[in-house]
Amino acid sequence: MASIPALVRFVREFLDQEGLADERAFDLDLVIEELFTNLVKYARGDRGMIDVGLTREDVNVIITLCEAGAEFHDPTAAPDVDVDRPIGERVPGGLGIHLVRKLSEDFRYEWRDGMATTTVTMRMKD
């Protein structure tokens, strides 16, 4: 979790470089943090570095998280949180991925030869 402040700085530098408003930072920070903490919590294996990438494609920003040596763990397959259920009946966990789904246009996972890649597309303009 010590990496989170570095991720926040990375997002600010990207927004600045792309001329995108700072107000977009909240949602980008949230999606990146939730994906990152999910990987750290659930993916097992010979843990290495997680590479986080941001790319601008027209009105979208593409977020990629790549980790070599990770075991298969597909966050897109996680059951969604039923936010309409009373709190006492909810199963703990899963809220982070629920927020990623809420804030993204597209959410994909690919695992090939131990390289796990999560790709999320977020729309930056209304």
Partner: protein
């Protein structure tokens, strides 16, 4: 940067970014509060599911003791996260 203060009994003031790196600090303070408790979020700039988990853990503990937890003065973006999580009504967020 995240800070949490309880200057007035029953009112915790949160400021900065409550993310996964800061959630332990928030829990350490909140777990010592007897309740009822109001969280003043006027200066809270950011929250993730790790921060929400700490607030929900505190909510459930207080509820079990017959106390309430309420959140006030949230910024629109922080409020949105609670709305997406389906927790806004439960925590008295207007």
């Amino acid at each position: 940067m995240f800070e949490i203060h309880v200057d007035t009994p029953g009112i915790a003031t949160l400021s900065g970014r409550l993310d996964a790196a800061e959630s332990d600090q928030a829990l350490a303070v909140l777990s010592s509060q007897p309740g009822p408790l109001v969280l003043d979020c006027a200066q809270l700039e950011y929250i993730s599911s790790a921060g929400i988990a700490v607030i929900m853990q505190t909510y459930k503990r207080l509820l079990a003791g017959g106390h309430s937890l309420r959140m006030t003065r949230l910024t629109p973006r922080v409020k949105n996260v609670f709305v997406y999580a389906g927790l806004a009504e439960l925590l008295g967020i207007e």
